[in-house]
Structure formats: C-alpha cells, structure tokens
C-alpha cells in the first residue's frame, strides 16, 4: 500500500480525478449546448410559417417540381426522423448546402465568419483600449467634467441607433472628408488578389506581403470598427465606471490611501485589480455579442459577415445556413465563456483553490 501511495504521490489521484471531472464537465456542457442549439434551431425552422421547398424552387414552380423537391428534402418523413437524419449528417461534418449561395454551408461559414471575426475583434479592441481608461477616469473624477464627458460619450454610443451612426460616419468620413474608403472589405481593384489563409484579410495580406492590399483592408476596416467600437466602448466604459466606483468606496482603498500609497497604485493595483473579474465577464460578453454579427453595421458597410449571412438565410428559409451559423455563434459563446473562466483563474487567486 505504502509503495503504491508513494508512486501516485500524495493527493495526485484526487487531482487527476478532479481534472478528468472538469474536462468531462466541459465536454458534457459542450455536447448539451450543441444538442440544445441544433434541436431548438431545427424545430423552430420546421414550425416557422415558411415553406423551405418554395425557398428552393421559387414561387412559380409547377406542382411536379415542388413535389419532387419536397421528397428530396425528406419533408414527407416524421419530424423526429428528419432531425435524426439531420444530426447524422451534422456529426459527419456535413452541414448541407446553402440555398442562397449554392455552396456547402461549411465553406460559407469559413468565408463569412472571418469577416465578422476581423470586425468584432477590432471593435472589441477599440472598446477595451478606450472604454476601460475612460471608465476608470470617470470613476476617479466622479462628478467632475471628465466624468460628464465620459457619460455623454457613453450615452451616445449606447443610445444612438448603430444604423444611423454608421450612415453618419460614412457621410462625414467617407463622403465629406474623404478620410475613409466606402463600404466593402476592399476596393474593387484589390479584390481577389490575396490568397485566403485565415480569411482575415488584414492578416492574409500581411502574410502574402501585399502591403497595398493590407493598407486598403485596414482602411476599409476603420469606419465599421469605429462605429461598432463606439457601441462596445460605451458599454465597457459605463460598466468600468460603475465597478470602479464600488471599489473606490471600499475601506481597503481608504486604508491604502491613508498608508500613503501613490494614487496610481491605489487605483490600478488595488481598486482596478478587484474589478478585473467582472470586467472580463463584460468584455467577454461584448465580444461574443459582436461575433454574432452586427446585421445593421454589416448592411450599411456592405460587410459580408455572418450576421448578414444568417439574416438573409432566415429570409430565404435557408435552414441549413441558419443552423450552421447558429452553431458557430453558439460555440463562440461557449468558447468565450471558457476563456473567461480561465482568465478568472489568472487574475483572481481565490478561484484557483
């Protein structure tokens, strides 16, 4: 007994067990999320008062064409069987073919999602880089002009319709001032020149060493990023301000100040350190919601992202595309949640126990 204990090491077996349990838990929650997402999307698709056959054959199709496609889609089968068949295909990695693009949904997602990923990442970066310091500054200067300014900026970003904001940004920076290029991911003369590696145009152009395309892609990214970033910034600044105010009123902050610690240390190390966990949650949620695709921003800026893809798929009753898109968005949420959990462990020692 003693030797086996020595081999395993004190506390090692329970540690492994715990890790296995955690991995099992994560995998279980992933599987459940996956099942729930597909089931809900599938059944909503089937009970919607739209006709998936008409979406394919068109309004004018003769009855015989309609009937043939109806059978091809397996719509004559009971709904549970349709779901099982669908799940079978899905588990083999076959998301089916999209009606609206005539291409496999997986291929579409690999093209549309990076466009959204590029935009959402840039917007979140803007939101964090500007929103966090603004929120902190507002909290530290509560009631002073800087606080009012941050609150007004936040209010505008939060309450102005993003569609309107996009149009105004285009009008001012593209049409009047000429500082930014118009809608789209690239100017027409740069299209189709860059081999797709990641799907992120900025990255692909840099990898290919095509610096003119890189600059063009970055310039096209600027306006939609600014618009979407304003929304992210407003939310993050507002929440940061509120979290910071809570902390700055705590006794430990007073103690730190009484001890004569520099204000910089009091604010950033003590107070800010304690809002990080909440802030990570907020940033994670903001990023996830932007990754869903912002349909309105994508529409104004003719940005071929996943939001536009899923929305137009919905209008066309293109359920393969809707389900594919929903799964991607679902996984983004799950993934970012897991990432947030990991980050909590890094910033909050209490969660490591």
């Amino acid at each position: 007994m003693a030797s086996s204990n020595a081999l395993a090491g004190p506390g090692r077996v329970p540690g492994l067990l715990r890790a296995a349990r955690q991995v099992g838990g994560v995998l279980g929650s992933l599987a459940l999320t996956f099942l729930g997402l597909t089931a809900v999307t599938f059944f909503i698709g089937r009970v919607m008062p739209v006709d998936p056959v008409l979406a394919i054959v068109g309004d004018r199709a003769p009855a015989e064409v309609y009937d043939r496609v109806y059978l091809e889609l397996g719509l004559d089968q009971p709904i549970w069987r349709q779901y099982l068949l669908f799940m079978g295909d899905l588990l083999r990695g076959d998301l089916g073919v999209s009606i609206q693009t005539s291409r496999p949904v997986l291929e579409d997602l690999m093209r549309f999602f990076p466009a959204t990923l590029e935009l959402a990442t840039a917007a979140t970066l803007v939101g964090v880089l500007l929103g966090v310091p603004m929120g902190v500054a507002a909290a530290v200067n509560q009631g002073r002009p800087i606080d009012h300014i941050v609150r007004v900026v936040g209010l505008i970003g939060y309450s102005a319709p993003i569609f309107w904001l996009g149009m105004v940004a285009l009008l001012v920076f593209y049409a009047w001032l000429g500082w930014a290029p118009g809608p789209g991911r690239l100017d027409v003369f740069h299209q189709g020149l860059t081999p797709s590696v990641t799907g992120l145009l900025v990255v692909d152009a840099a990898l290919a060493g095509q610096w003119d395309v890189f600059h063009n892609a970055l310039a096209h990214l600027a306006l939609p990023t600014a618009v979407l970033g304003t929304y992210a910034l407003a939310y993050i600044a507002r929440m940061t301000r509120s979290f910071m105010l809570d902390q700055l009123g705590e006794e430990y902050v007073l103690t730190a100040r009484v001890k004569g610690l520099p204000e910089r240390v009091v604010i950033w190390r003590h107070a800010f350190g304690n809002v990080l966990v909440q802030l990570i949650t907020i940033i994670g949620l903001t990023y996830a919601s932007l990754l869903e695709g912002s349909v309105l921003t994508e529409t104004v800026f003719a940005w071929p992202g996943i939001g536009q893809y899923i929305t137009s798929a919905l209008f066309k009753s293109d359920m393969n595309a809707v389900i594919g898109g929903t799964i991607v968005v679902g996984f983004c949420f799950v993934g970012l949640n897991m990432l947030s959990d990991l980050l909590y462990r890094l910033v909050d020692p209490r969660t490591r126990a």
Binding site: A63, E64, R111, V136, G182, H190, Q191, A222, T299
Partner: protein
Amino acid sequence: MKIIKHTLAAGAIAAASVFAVPQASAETPPNMLVLGQTISDLITLDPAEIFEFSGGEIANNIYDRITTFEPGDYETLVGGATESWQISEDGKTITFTMRDGMTFHSGNPVRAEDAVFSLRRVVKLGKTPSFILTQLGWTPENVDDNVTVTGDGTFEIKIPADISPGLVLNALSATVGSVVDEVTVMANEVDGDLGYAWLKTNSAGSGPFSLRAWNANETVILDRYDGYWKGAASMERVIVRHLPEPAAQRLLLEKGDIDIARTLTPDQIAGLEGAEGVTIEDAPKTKIVYLAMNTSEGPLADPKVWEAMRWLVDYEGMLGSFLKGQYSMQQSFWPTGLFGSISENPYTLDIEKGKALLAEAGYGDGLTLTMDTLNVAPFMDIAQSVQQTLGQAGVTVEIVPQDGSALWPKYRARRHGLILAQWGPDYLDPHSNADSFAHNPDNALEAKLTGKLAWRNAWADETITGMTEAASQETDLDKRAVMYRDLLTAHQTGSPFVNMFRSSEQLAIQDGVTGFVSGPTFDLVFYDGVTKE
C-alpha cells in the same frame, strides 16, 4: 492621474492610427464597369436553373441564347447562337442553323451539338424554369427524340404540344435557351448530374463576358471575352457589387466608387435629380402590380364586386405621388408596346360607381375583407391607398403585410382574400402572362396548378381559358396579335384581377458612362455596349 492621462492618450493614438491609413482613389478605372445593386437573390448561375433577377441578368452577359433580342428592340426576335431558322408548314418542326465561327470562352467551337445538349439538359434536370420548355410537350423521356442534330451546324426541334411556333421561338429567348459548352460542362459532371453542381457556381458560355468570381452577398466579377462574335466589349471587367443599403449606394455613386446605382429609393432618386455628374434614366420593365380576389367563396366570387373594385382604386393619385417615376399605368396584364398588347386603361377612381356596383351585388351596407401583401415598399403604400378608397365605398379592409416566404405559400394554398402582388413574364411572349393570369383548365384544389395566378384565385372562365389556348396555338403572327388583344380586353373587364401599374427601373448613372441597357425583362440587361469617356 498621470497614468490615466497616458492611458487615454495611448487609446486615442490607437484609434487615430486606424483612421490614418492611406486609402485608394475613389474613381472607378476607365476599363471597368462597377454596378451597385442588391444581388442577395442570386442563388445559382446555371442557366437550366436560374429564375432570379440577378441570375438572369448575369447569364445574359455570359451566354448566347438560341434566339434573343437586340438591345433596344424587343419586338423583333433575332438569332443569338443561331443565325436563322426554318419553320415547317405544319408549324410542328423548326430547323435552326448555327452561327458560324462562334467559340466558347474555353476556346471550343459553338456547335449544334451544344445547343441540343443545352435544351435536353434543361428538360432532364427539371429545375423550376424547365416548364418554359416542357410546355412544348417535351419530357425527360422524349426530349432526345424531339431535339436532334440534323447536320453539320444545324439542329431541329419538334413540337408535340399544340403551341404556336412563334411562341416557341420567343420561349427560346429565355435564360433556359442559353447554349452551354457541352465539352466543358460534361468534363465537370459528377454522378450523372450533367454538370449541375459545377455550373451553379461556374460558367461555360460564349457571351461577351466570362465569370471570374461570384462571392455570395458581396460581388460578381466578370471578365471580358475577347473572342465574342459581336466583337469584344469595351469594358475589360464588370464588377457587380452587393450594396444592400440604398443610402450607402448613393454615397458611393456620388463619390465615384460605382458607375451605376441600380436600387436607389425614390427619394434618393429625387435627391439626385439635377445633381452634377449624375444622370437619371428610366427603364420600363414588364412587372405588373395587380390586386386579385380569391373567388372561392363569399363576396369575392361575385363579378359585380370585381367590377366595383376596379373603380375603387386611385390609379392617378398613386402615380402622381409615391409611385412617381417608378411605375406607370397598366390596366391589362401584358405591357403596352409589346407584341399583342393593348393601350386602353379604362378605369379611374369613381367611388359612386363602385358603391352602386356593390349595392347591385347586395353589399350596399358594406363588407369586410382582408388584403395580403408584401411588407415592403411600394406594396404597403399601395395597400393603404386601396384600403382608404375602398373604405369610402363602405368596404373595410384589413391589411396583412408579410414577407414573401410567408405570403407565397398562403397564396398557393388559396388561403387569401384580396392579394396585392406583382408578376413579370418569364419570356417576352404574351402567352407567358396569359398562361398565368387567364388560363385555368382545372379549378379543382387537387389539380394544384399553383404556377397559375388564375388557379390561385380559384377563377376558371371557360371562354377566357379557351381564348388563351387558341392564341397560344395560332401560327399566323398577325392573327395571333389580334387574339391577344381580344383576350386582354376580355380579361380587363371580366376577371377578378385589378391590374394597376407597370414598373420602371430607375438608374442613376455617372456622366460619361453610356451604353448600359436595361431591357424590359430582368434577363435582358446588356453590359457589353457600355463605354466610358
């Protein structure tokens, strides 16, 4: 505080650096045509399957059809991939002679074998627009016998159905009449699909342009084909950009980033009128806006109510206000100016007459109806106008706006009351509309003639159905035109359809860009004549 200032400054620099990126010029190159429109309807580029506006338009610039129309003249049918044709005396056989010296984009010659392959392929694949050819009596089983190569550069089609050869020739000018490159298509065949999976997203034509790329919901890029039989187009490349937001489209036009804006709203067109550097052009189309009545039961089954409805629409009022420039008067189902059309528009708003007719029908105390329509402009505006004028005659209308994906299944299942919708022909022959608006040989629900508007509205008039059939079979062109005029008049005054307007496309074009032709149907849009100063 210092650190906060530093952080804020760093953030501002980061944001500014994003904007400080140099940008490209805002003028389209002189050898490139850039169109701004919506292409979200584009779902296939296979001519055997295309039935969408964007698809038909693009295919017209990639493929040559067996017959076609010259840009600007839509009354005279001319040869496309064929040079001439001969109709047999009984009108049951047409022999075509192919045009000499044509080549596909692949370099392969355009042969009679390709034309025969293309027609057989449409029928065998059986996609939605195949009905344009199957109405000739062709089936997947008999099409090999009815469409055959007869010699070097000639082929023959036989017409089993009782149908006028004039109609057949017009039908072959539709997208399904496009000639595809058999060798290239069959090289990409998978599991006997006649190259269907491949041709959905690729091209194999002989037209002025070839497909370079189609990025769904983003762009379609076409490259000039230097070997085009009419001579190479002036533009080396055509880029069709998907710009779903009309306001953004207008900005791009004003900045010179697109040459032609195709889907601007009426207020944007009004704003551009008289603007420097931009010209507005109207291109009349063949789409007809109509109000129809489900005659299955109730008041809408009464012809007096139909007639009353025709007097209770404020045609001029709408055309003079929110429809200005976008629509014109069209009270018959076949657009005025085309073969066999009439120009009479006898109805105006006359509340008293409408009321009197309703009283005659026994509805003097009024009645309540529902009106299904699409939830987009201008249908909602038209519906509200009709609701208001019908209201003056005691008819209470509840408008049910909805998306097409919900409306069409309802319409096809005859679950509507009044419906306000639009219809455009599938090819430039009056039969294309007559077959839908007027022909209903079996009104039973089980007959499922869902492609016909007459059937959807449960309306079967033996005389009018007979007139439609006779006109479609008439071989004498002049007689046929007269027959359609009679049919249009009979339908105008005796059907449950209130035909109202004909649509127009309003194009905003950069000065210096000329030669863009948007014909009457969605699949007669020509890019090859475009030049830039």
